[in-house]
Structures are given as C-alpha cells and as structure tokens.
Subunit: 190 residues, 2 copies
DNA sequence: TGAAACATACCGTCTGGACGGTTTTTTTCA
DNA sequence: TGAAAAAAACCGTCCAGACGGTATGTTTCA
C-alpha cells in the first residue's frame, strides 16, 4: 500500500534519469545503440513519456551533452584550490578531476560519454573546444606553459584510456603516472 | 573499345573500395550513419555483392578495425629507430607518428578521425587495448616508466585535440609541446 | 479545472540480411 | 591441351523487425 503524501510525478528527476540511461547505453554498447525505445525502457517510462521531455532524439543527445559539460565544468571549478598560486593551477585541477574518475561508479560514466560524443560529432567537438579556450583565457597567467599543456594532454589521454580499460587505467600504474605529473608541475615554469 | 586481356572482376580491389567507402561514410556522417545500403551504393555495387565479401555488418566493421590497427601499427613500427637505445623507444615512436599526422592531408585525416570515431565501439576499444598491451610487453624493458606512459598519454591527448582543432593543435604551440616531451624522455628513467 | 505529465496505439521509412538467380574465374582431369 | 566441373563473384528482390516520430488518450497535480 502506498502513502497518500508521496507524489507520483517527479519530472525533474525523470529528465535526469533519462539522460543517465542514455549515457549508460552509449557507454556500454556504443553510440549506434542509442535508441529512443531503449532509453525509455531502461528508464522505466514509455516512449511517449520520453518524447514529452525531449521532443526528438537530437534534443535528447543535446541535453546529454550539456549536462555532461556542465557537470565536468563544475567539478573542475570545485577542484581549483583558491589559495593555490603555483603555475598550472587550472590544468592541475583539470587533471585531478579526470584522474579521480571511477568508472565503476555509474554517475561518473557521464565523462566517458563526453569523450565518445566528442570523437563522433564535429559539432560537439567545436563546442568543447570553445569551452576549453574560454577556460584557458581565464587562466592564461598560469596555464599556458608547455608543462601545463602536457598535463592536460596527458589527462585527456588518461581519459581516453579509461574507455577501453587499457593498461594505464590500472590503479597502481595510474598512481605512478599522477605522481610523476605532479612533480612535473611543481618543477619549473616556461 | 576494351581489350580482351583485362579481367572484369577484381575482388581484392572491391574489398578495399568497400572498406574505403565505409570509412568515408563514418568520417563524414558518424558511426550511426554506416549502413550496408549506403556502403554498397557508394562503392557502386549491389548489397548482395557487399554481403558476399563481408557476410554481415559486424564483419564489415571488423574489417575496418583490422585496417586501421594495421595501418597505425605499421606506422609506429616504421618509426622505431633500430639503433635507438634510449628508454621510451617505443613510446617516442608512438608519439612521433601521432605528432606527424597532417590533418590537411585527406587520407591521413580520414584514418586518424576514423580511429577516434571507432572508439565509441567497445569491441574496437578492446582490440586497440590488446594491441597496445602486446606492444608494451614487447618493449617492457624500455617503455614501462611513468615518463614513457606520459608521453603516450599526451600523444593520445594531442590526437584528440587535433580532432577539434583546439588550441594545442596550433603549429607553434604544438612544436613547443613536442620539444618539451622530447626533453622529458631523455632526462631520466624511473 | 486546466495544464503538465505520462501512456497507448499506430505509421512510414529504413535496415540488416536471407535467398535464388546469373556471370566470371579457377580447378580438374582425360 | 581444352572441355567440363566447381567455385567464386556479383545481382535484384523480398521481408521481418527496428526505428524515429505523431496523434490521441488518461492520469496527476497545482
């Protein structure tokens, strides 16, 4: 028996769940496996219900992209130590967020989706680039050195590597890499 | 008028053309746009003809996998200096191949983009990973250090960055990064 | 009560691929 | 050698199901 007070509808939560299920499908079975029927089934809702919130497949994908970018941006911003004055301040936070991804946690699979979307659609790619460039302008005093750039590039590589569960995503190896990158950042400035 | 001697069929060439057209479709319109009808049409052959050579869509995609892995593997192998004795021998070659990809050369760009796009397929990821791991076993004496790993990770990042034409793909910046990575490799060993 | 939130039913198109042919090339063997 | 036999290459048609999307309900809630 159900209590009277609990509301049956929770559209905001459903929208989130829809995006998460879409992400899950993409990560587990590749982009072509993303279907409206599949997402609806996974989210325990009818296709009509899905289409009520995202009026087309493109709208769904677009929503997914925005959510993931927003999420990542927030994470990075939160990871920037306000008292930090060393060079590569932003890049270090960028690396830290990516390094801390635990692919066994469902919500963090969102990041994997981001990379998949980037590598498949030039439109999203351009959007991502513009985000990065904006961040770079904001932190141009600290994050334009080759060291900083390499940190971010390695972070991207690590990110990509997490997708396939390659050798660099093993915990101990990963830790070694991160330590090395850390010493790199503190060492010098170009 | 046609000479008698020329053969009408050329199955090997057709198989190549089929893979080529498939690659083109993926690069231009994304992985979900890869259809048997589309490939057959583009290659100027019937769908039956296509299915004769690749008995299913999976088989066709599998053919693409092998093609790109072979290509990249060959490039790296060719880039390894046989007289080289320094550490990170393999990783340096790996980086060099990626760094030398000229996105303004269509054939190179197609292969490079294709590989990234295929990354959205878990099967491809597994295959790619197994290749990397095999290479790593072969070069375990020289390429297991954090420095070597970071070189490869940064190479992957650079690759991804090339896709979107981000700030790190600008020639001068790129050169700076590569120089920095080079000094990294010669510096020390873990 | 009416607007938002969802469900159900349905449609037109596309897609993978099965199938039975025909033509071309290679192999067999007398 | 060369004709017969086998195999490979390729074509055109057809179909069951999946897919994105619409149209029309029914329920929920402010």
């Amino acid at each position: 028996m159900m209590t009277r007070l609990q509301r049956k509808n929770n559209p905001a939560a459903l929208r989130l769940r829809l995006l998460d299920c879409a992400a899950q499908l993409i990560v587990e079975h590749g982009l072509p496996a993303l279907t409206l029927d599949g997402v609806a089934r996974e989210a325990g809702v009818s296709k009509g219900g899905l289409l009520h919130h995202y009026s087309s497949k493109d709208a769904l994908i677009g929503g997914l992209f925005e959510m993931v970018v927003d999420w990542f941006g927030g994470q990075v911003e939160a990871a920037i130590d306000p008292d930090e004055t060393r060079p590569a301040r932003f890049s270090r936070a960028y690396l830290q967020v990516i390094a801390q991804i635990d692919m066994s946690v469902p919500s963090e699979k969102r990041l994997a989706v981001l990379i998949l979307m980037l590598s498949s659609d030039p439109h999203f790619c351009a959007r991502w680039t513009s985000w990065v460039e904006a961040q770079l302008r904001e932190h141009q005093a600290t994050d334009q050195s080759p060291v900083a750039r390499c940190m971010r590039l390695a972070a991207d590589g690590l990110w990509l590597s997490d997708l396939g569960g390659g050798p660099d995503s093993v915990a101990t190896v990963r830790h070694e890499i991160l330590q090395f990158l850390e010493t790199l950042g503190t060492g010098r400035q170009s």
